[in-house]
């Protein structure tokens, strides 16, 4: 070791006479271990670089704790974290490219377990009756190997795989059923699978590329983005499904092919969705779509994660070239005014409240 240092010193003296200043890069992970008064931001990092992280934001004190998983546990979260879910006093994080689910205690973020088996390209997670349901793409290019994996949420034991159509993405538990939106993986799909127990009870057709789900007052709402322009661009749509009959009772179609809605959310009998960085709202009983946006999230130029919670919109925006830290902008949903701004980790893709 001594030799090595000596060698290095000589080398530095001989050849390099300038030194790099440590400019505080690679932000310090937080390990305070108290994450109860606030919410979480999941940062997926850069694909292939294993730099996913979780930020904890305490809005009362306007404080952010970065990289709390690695700070508390001393190991990296993994590659391309894609979802975070709460079950009792535990937090489950789906790490897509690492093919695993990390489970931690909610307040301390101390690691409890890791689920590694029976996952192939896991995407999103939800919970129902003590079970965790996780959507899996299998090989993204293979339409025949997609499934929902079921684990016991208490013991983390693998229960079963439910084979589903191509590209299961968002997943929602409502009543005694699980609803899965099939975006299509690397392909395109246009269905919602309804899972009851360990069977697919029904497949409901909606618009192309269903990207978000919300349920309330007896209805399931689905936003579908429509096909992108390289695939023969089509207008997106919003579907309203009656949860008692599992039939689509109303479909709102976009007026032009470039209409691609996302981030559909329900709150206080209002449906909210986004078009790019514009936020639209309408009452659940309305017959037509609004023409004008409520407001524009001007600061969120690379909108990557979105959440409506208690009258506030949490818009996570990635850095301009998706390599550095992103930002979280918080807007008042009624006035559209920007209320707070926080730093996040790399490519924040979701905001999670328990």
């Amino acid at each position: 070791m001594q030799t090595r240092n000596y060698f290095y010193l000589i080398f530095l003296l001989l050849i390099l006479n300038s030194c790099e200043a440590d400019d505080g890069s690679n932000p310090e992970p937080d390990n305070s271990g108290t994450y109860s008064e606030g919410f979480f931001v999941l940062n997926e990092g850069v694909f292939g670089q294993g730099n996913s992280s979780v930020s904890f934001i305490d809005p009362a004190n306007e404080e952010v704790s970065q990289s709390i998983f690695s700070g508390v546990n001393g190991v990296d979260l993994g590659d391309t974290a894609s979802d975070l879910g709460f079950y009792k006093d535990r937090v489950f994080m789906v790490v897509n490219v690492s093919n695993k689910i990390e489970i931690v205690e909610e307040g301390s973020f101390l690691k409890v377990a890791t689920i590694e088996g029976n996952l192939e390209n896991p995407r999103k997670i939800t919970f129902l009756d003590g079970m965790a349901y996780v959507t899996n793409w299998g090989d993204a290019s293979n339409p025949l190997d997609d499934y929902v994996a079921v684990f016991n949420a208490e013991t983390f034991e693998f229960i079963t795989k439910i084979a589903v159509e191509e590209g299961p993405e968002n997943i929602l538990a409502e009543g005694n059923r699980i609803f899965v939106a099939h975006k299509g993986g690397w392909n395109f799909n246009n269905t919602i699978s309804v899972i009851s127990g360990s069977d697919v009870e029904k497949i409901i057709q909606v618009g192309e590329v269903p990207n978000s789900l919300a349920a309330g007052n007896g209805y399931l709402w689905v936003s579908s983005s429509g096909l992108p322009n390289y695939a023969g661009e089509t207008a997106g749509s919003l579907s309203k499904i009656d949860l008692s009959t599992l039939e689509v009772v109303k479909k709102f179609e976009g007026a032009s092919a470039s209409w691609h809605p996302a981030n559909l959310t329900l709150e206080n009998d209002l449906v909210h969705y986004t078009l790019g960085t514009e936020v639209y709202s309408f009452a659940t009983g309305e017959e037509t779509l609004p023409l004008e946006p409520e407001f524009i999230m001007e600061e969120a130029t690379n909108l990557y994660g979105f959440k409506l919670n208690n009258g506030r919109i949490y818009a996570a925006s990635a850095s301009p070239d998706y390599t550095g830290d992103g930002k979280l902008f918080i807007y008042d949903v009624t006035t559209g005014s920007l209320e707070e701004t926080y730093e996040t980790g790399i490519n924040p893709n979701g905001i999670f409240f328990n």
Partner: protein, 610 residues
């Protein structure tokens, strides 16, 4: 511990001892060679050129990446041994270093860059590294510099054969057969290499292995030259490469994907000397194909294939003993197809260039220009102006100013999701000033450069969320490169030290932040010592910190690594055995995030010449 001390002492001895002479093949100084790519040397007297000869090639790992990273100012980022490796020359992007095979630009038509782990160095007579802009001569991508793979022919030399085998850690093997036959008017050579590895090295400071990183590849290089008479020659070169590799997992992610490369290059060259004229006609055909398997256990893959036909004509006219005029005409037709490209797409480019050089020793200058016509984009008018002045016999000053470019690739133009037909070539205005000093056994060069690049092509998200290439960024690169070469032969003890150092500042002109994957400092040093049948060498590499995010908040630590080896000639230059240790300090380092590189590894080799 033992090893470290031994090598340290060896290195220290090399710096301070004063011994004698003898000839030793492995560390010979560069001999005069006849090059097929003549204008590289004749017309580049205002650019810095560094040549790595076959003895250096013989004693390095067979892929081009490792030889360049240990012997040149070029910085490499690689996903691991044998995995994808791309170059950054003077802080430029991976597609701004041109790779030139016997005078023909062979960068990928899909990506615009060369994966330096898919080029085997065996069979080439030498590899030259030309710093700075060279688009007038070498076309698209010669902005940071160019790397030249050169064959050469010997005549009246009979049968020569060489067999080399090498085996080492992680089941890494390499076999090479080189045969050459020549008489007074015919020269034929054949080189076959096979190279591979399980590549399942343990990640240092981790309990994981590098999984799914296996690779194997085969290269065949053949060339024939026929002299009708000393003033009229015909040459044919062919190069075939087939590679099959897993894309390795990382510290945090498993992998099961696989990639296959299948590249072939053919070149026919007819050169004629007629009075004051030299005429060279080249016909080349390049075929490039890749297949990507998301899951290597399944048959499904995506692919791309491009075929290029090139006609290149050069005519040199000696106006006077000190003045030369040189004209260049080139036509290139490229056809591409693949999973991610709609239908079969075609790109046609024609270019014409004119060069003038005037040798008024001690002052020389050269002026050149090139214009290009394309059916897909408008190219800038390129130029280069250079001069050199020998202040004394041992002190040379050089100056060069040039405009260079990089054309949009087939992916940029025709990618099914986002391909953009309204692109301009990237273009750069650059200048450099160099000095070269010789003190008996020591040669020093110091070059300062500045490169102002505009219309950089980047894939950026459009308002509808789709990524597509745009001419968006402007960058400014400046810095310096220094090389020092020293060799001495004292009472049979042959000593040689080569080193390079580069300082590179490369900033985005809008944010003024350092570009990602460009270290401020890079340094290499190699030392060789030989006595009678014994020779040894030591290589050292320092890569400074690199940012991995454009907000410069995330970075990879700087690292230094070193290799050392010994060879012993068992029988009159016919049989040589060698032993090498790589990463002798067992440094734990990463060239890309989450991708640790191997710790210490050992290799042994046998070279048999007959």
């Amino acid at each position: 511990m033992m090893n470290k001390n031994v090598f340290y002492i060896l290195f220290f001895v090399l710096l301070h001892s004063h011994p004698g002479y003898s000839q030793l093949d492995s560390i010979n100084h560069l001999d005069e060679v006849v090059l097929s790519d003549v204008h590289l040397f004749r017309r580049s007297n205002s650019n810095t050129i560094q040549v790595l000869n076959d003895s250096v090639l013989e004693h390095n790992s067979p892929a081009l990446t490792s030889i360049l990273k240990f012997n040149s100012p070029i910085y490499f980022r690689e996903n691991g041994p044998g995995m994808v490796a791309s170059a950054s020359f003077r802080g430029t992007t991976a597609s701004q270093t041109a790779v030139i095979w016997n005078g023909i630009n062979i960068n990928s038509q899909f990506t615009g860059q060369t994966d330096f782990n898919t080029i085997l160095t065996s069979g080439y007579e030498n590899i030259a590294i030309r710093s700075g802009g060279g688009s007038v001569l070498y076309g698209s991508g010669a902005i940071g510099g160019s790397v030249h793979l050169n064959d050469r022919f010997r005549f009246s030399n009979g049968f020569q054969n060489k067999v080399q085998i090498r085996y080492g850690s992680f089941d890494t093997y390499y076999g090479n057969l080189e045969s050459e036959y020549s008489k007074e008017n015919l020269s034929v050579q054949l080189n076959i290499s096979k190279n591979g590895s399980e590549n399942d090295f343990p990640y240092p400071e981790s309990n994981k292995l590098n999984e799914n990183g296996d690779y194997s590849n085969t290269g065949i290089n053949a060339a024939v030259a026929y002299l009708f008479n000393p003033l009229n020659s015909l040459k044919f070169y062919t190069n075939y490469y087939v590679g099959d590799r897993g894309f390795s997992g990382t510290l945090t992610a498993p992998s099961k994907s696989k990639y296959e490369d299948l590249n072939s290059k053919n070149l026919l060259e007819w050169r004629r000397y007629l009075g004051n004229f030299t005429s060279t006609l080249r016909l080349a055909y390049l075929d490039e194909e890749y297949k990507y398997f998301e899951n290597r256990n399944r048959e499904d893959y995506s692919y791309g294939r491009s075929k290029s036909g090139i006609v290149k004509y050069e005519l040199e006219y000696r106006l006077h003993y000190d003045k030369k005029l040189f004209a260049l005409l080139e036509y290139r037709k490229t056809r591409g197809e693949g999973t991610n490209i709609e239908a079969i797409q075609e790109r046609n480019t024609g270019s014409a260039g004119l060069l003038f050089s005037h040798d008024l020793y001690p002052f020389r200058y050269e002026l050149s220009t090139r214009t290009e016509f394309s059916d897909r984009y408008d190219s800038p008018l390129l130029f280069s102006a250079g001069a050199s002045y020998a202040v004394t016999e041992d002190y040379l000053v050089k100056l060069n100013v040039s405009r260079n470019y990089r054309i949009p690739t087939l992916n940029d133009l025709f990618w099914y999701a986002g391909g953009n037909l309204n692109l301009r070539p990237e273009n750069s205005l650059q200048a450099e000033v160099g000095q070269e000093v010789n003190f008996s056994n020591l040669k020093l060069t110091v070059t300062g450069f500045v490169i102002d690049t505009e219309d950089l092509l980047r894939w950026v998200p459009a308002t509808n969320g789709m990524w597509r290439p745009e001419n968006t960024h402007q960058t400014l690169n400046y810095g310096m490169e220094a090389t020092a070469n020293w060799n001495k032969n004292i009472n049979g003890h042959l000593l040689k030290i080569n080193s390079t150092y580069s300082f590179t500042k490369a900033v985005d002109q809008k944010t003024e932040r350092q570009l990602i994957y460009v270290p401020l400092h890079k340094a290499t040093a190699s030392a060789g010592y030989g006595f009678k049948r014994f020779s040894s060498y030591f290589q050292f590499l320092y890569n400074g910190e690199v940012f991995t995010s454009s907000d410069n908040r995330y970075s990879l630590d700087p690292y230094y690594i070193a290799n050392a080896g010994v060879t012993y000639d068992l029988f009159k230059n016919h049989l040589e055995i060698g032993f090498e240790a790589q990463n002798i300090f067992n440094t734990s380092y990463q060239s890309m995030p989450s991708r640790p590189m191997p710790g210490r590894a050992y290799y042994s080799s046998l070279i048999f010449k007959f």
